[in-house]
């Protein structure tokens, strides 16, 4: 089995990537602006929903229930989808999914495909597989198109080109579309994109999409979006191929009541998505006449097997945790090396890899808890991060790293108050080589990361427990004097 999560397996550690990205003035300005705008919009529309917390609980319960009976609901979805005229394929990993999709495109004689709203296809590296087989994929979601035309990588789950501003988008469009002139107003850019895309929508007969929800009871699929480009992709082609992770299934059409309230408010700060597309199988003379769903595992069942972190699969890809994350807001999405950025990416990517790659990601968080607070399906991301850190320590380290030696020694010290007190005294004496003019300004090794930008007060001569001990002694003396 080959688990692939975009190009995350080749990505540098979070620390290394972040170091470089923190210098990108434009990126930081764009990311800050975009996350501020979305966060504020979200706060307003969430605030007006009086039953928000109950909705979160309901969504969490639906997801938990579905995951506990995932086999049942997937089979139910398969049967219903086939009954409605669709075809269902099962893919254990990225390669198998790519093979299935490329074969389907070839069977239908396609040289080009239009794509929309499919992060999962980025996860499996579908575009590369297409190109290797002489098929040209066209991204039609505006942001995905900007990324594709600019030979860039997505930096956000919902707004993948959030790190670009309109001047940068203008340049990308001019170059890729061969335009001699183009304004940088939103209308100018929209018109250019519309012109470019409409031609593709009308010409290309095979569409590839992702899915927000798979409905087990009806065999239906739901995609929500803001632009209408998705609606074009889902309705105009003759052949539609939808690729979806197996965790995207929900029991019934009625459950959309919960999710279609939570998702748009969390994702873009809208009360409702402008386009909510729902379709079931095929209908004669209406929409695509060939419909395929590829159900992707690619490491998901392994996550399902871990009760401590299974909740990761609740994710509905709203991106609220990215927008609120103080770490993401500094670095943007590329630092995470994965198409899944931010707090959810920090727990999802390494788990898909069974912790064989991306071990720096669970540490890319100050555990501030802002992500958990906004998560519409109540994923306790800090809890999962801590659990995964435990796996990193237990599974990846040989036990001989400096950090592990230090941490284990400290744990031993904490087992006895006498040892702890001895360590305090040792620290008080041993610190003096690092103290100058009453301050610690340079520490060796990893601790040097602290003193790079922060001073440290030296350990005071008297610990609290020593003060307490002296106080007890003197009060005992007083008492004996009074006696």
């Amino acid at each position: 089995m080959t688990i692939r999560v975009g190009e995350a397996a080749e990505a540098p550690s979070f620390q290394k990537a972040a170091f470089v990205l923190l210098d990108d003035t434009q990126l930081r300005k764009n990311v800050r602006h975009a996350t501020d705008v979305i966060t504020n919009k979200r706060a307003i529309v969430v605030g007006e929903q009086h039953d928000w917390q109950q909705l979160r609980s309901a969504a969490s319960a639906i997801k938990e229930h579905t995951l506990q009976h995932l086999d049942h609901y997937l089979l139910q979805f398969e049967a219903a989808c086939i009954a409605a005229g669709g075809h269902v394929h099962w893919a254990a990993d990225a390669d198998e999914a790519n093979r299935i999709i490329v074969d389907l495109v070839k069977q239908h004689g396609g040289k080009e495909v239009i794509k929309v709203k499919t992060m999962t296809s980025d996860e499996i590296g579908l575009n590369k597989a297409f190109e290797a087989n002489g098929v040209h994929p066209h991204e039609t979601d505006l942001a995905d198109m900007i990324i594709q035309l600019g030979h860039d990588k997505p930096s956000h789950i919902v707004v993948p080109a959030l790190h670009k501003n309109r001047q940068q988008v203008r340049e990308i469009f001019m170059q890729a579309m061969g335009l001699a002139e183009l304004g940088d107003k939103p209308e100018d850019l929209t018109n250019a994109a519309r012109h470019y895309l409409r031609e593709k929508f009308l010409k290309i007969k095979i569409g590839v999409s992702g899915a927000n929800y798979l409905l087990a009871d009806t065999g239906g699929v739901c995609v929500v979006e803001s632009e209408g480009n998705g609606r074009m992709c889902l309705t105009l082609p003759d052949v539609l191929i939808t690729v979806a992770g197996i965790e995207k299934v929900i029991p019934s059409f009625r459950d959309l009541e919960v999710f279609l309230q939570l998702l748009p408010r969390s994702a873009t700060g809208e009360r409702m998505n402008p386009y909510n597309s729902l379709w079931t199988g095929v209908h004669k003379n209406d929409g695509p006449q060939h419909f395929h769903v590829v159900l992707l595992d690619n490491g998901r069942t392994r996550i399902l097997a871990d009760p401590e972190s299974r909740q990761t699969l609740h994710c509905i890809r709203c991106g609220a945790c990215l927008n609120t994350c103080p770490v993401y807001r500094q670095t943007g999405g590329h630092a995470y090396g994965s198409i899944y950025a931010g707090p959810i990416g920090a727990i999802l990517t390494p788990q898909l890899f069974d912790m064989q790659h991306s071990q720096s990601l669970p540490y890319a968080s100050s555990l501030c808890g802002a992500c958990y607070e906004v998560c519409p399906v109540k994923i306790n991301i800090p809890e999962v991060l801590i659990h995964l850190r435990g796996r990193v320590v237990r599974e990846q380290q040989t036990g001989a790293t400096l950090e592990a030696i230090g941490m284990k020694a400290m744990a031993g010290i904490f087992l006895s108050s006498r040892r702890f007190e001895a360590a305090q005294r040792l620290g008080q004496i041993g610190q003096w080589p690092f103290v100058s003019q009453g301050w610690v300004k340079h520490l060796p090794g990893m601790l040097g990361n602290w003193t790079a930008v922060r001073d440290l007060r030296p350990l005071p001569k008297q610990s609290f427990r020593n003060w307490w001990r002296e106080r007890e002694k003197s009060s005992a003396k007083k008492e004996s004097v009074h006696a």
Partner: protein, 247 residues
């Protein structure tokens, strides 16, 4: 009331003045403070960094030392969060039914300082005097785990002489995050820079919080940049009176 103090390992070692203030404050309010000498650390740093196996025995120690306490006072919200959020799970995982019961029994008696004062002792005006311009930093654990909300601010508003100014973006993490500050030093520094800017914008002389861990981080930056702004734990402000000032 008989109050057992869990001072926490880093307050004990690095911030003894906070502990002294807690003792003076609680005694001034007429309570009896105990300090069980056997105590060391709650295990938070180990647990959060991935050394959960190493943190496990510290849970047993804590419970053993404080099981008979009437109430436990901890002047650190992140240590309280460790105990409240993770001890029950750790006990559960150990399969030790006695430990599970002991944790369940002890937890309702464990309080962060501001919680203890307002919720348990019902005091909002502790009779403090602190004639300085002060801004309050809400630590992440105090906000999102303990949900202290405005409890510390209610205590501060009753301090005489204080000029309390609101900190902008109060819900944003300062970038400390325990070992995060060294493991991801660059991102942590970027977060700290944002926080320092907000602190400086208040023109406060003093930044306070219920966690010395955040304050150590914030002060580290404030001092390196020679801003002249100090940080003090909430306990030190509340312990200050007209007779005795605590920095």
């Amino acid at each position: 009331m008989r109050i057992s103090l869990f001072i926490t390992c880093y307050n004990d070692t690095l911030f003894p003045e906070t502990g002294k203030s807690v003792v003076q404050l609680l005694e001034r309010l007429g309570h009896q403070v105990e300090f069980p000498f056997e105590q060391t650390c709650c295990g938070q740093m180990h647990y959060n960094t991935g050394y959960q196996i190493e943190a496990q025995p510290l849970l047993g120690r804590f419970v053993e030392i404080f099981k008979d306490a009437e109430v436990v006072c901890i002047p650190s919200s992140s240590c309280v969060a460790m105990i409240r959020d993770h001890y029950p799970k750790m006990a559960e995982a150990s399969g030790d039914t006695e430990l599970i019961r002991a944790v369940e029994d002890l937890l309702p008696r464990v309080y962060e300082l501001a919680e203890l004062l307002v919720k348990k002792l019902g005091v909002e005006d502790v009779g403090a005097y602190y004639p300085r311009r002060v801004t309050y930093h809400a630590s992440c654990h105090s906000l999102r785990s303990l949900h202290l909300n405005d409890l510390p601010l209610r205590l501060l508003r009753n301090v005489r002489g204080i000029d309390l100014v609101e900190l902008q973006n109060i819900d944003q993490c300062c970038g400390f995050g325990g070992t995060f500050a060294v493991k991801n030093g660059d991102v942590s520094a970027a977060m700290l820079t944002d926080k320092l800017r907000c602190v400086e914008n208040t023109r406060a002389e003093v930044c306070t919080a219920v966690d010395n861990s955040c304050l150590m981080h914030i002060f580290g930056g404030l001092h390196r940049q020679r801003t002249g702004i100090k940080t003090v734990h909430l306990a030190q402000i509340l312990a200050s009176t007209e007779d005795e000032a605590h920095r």
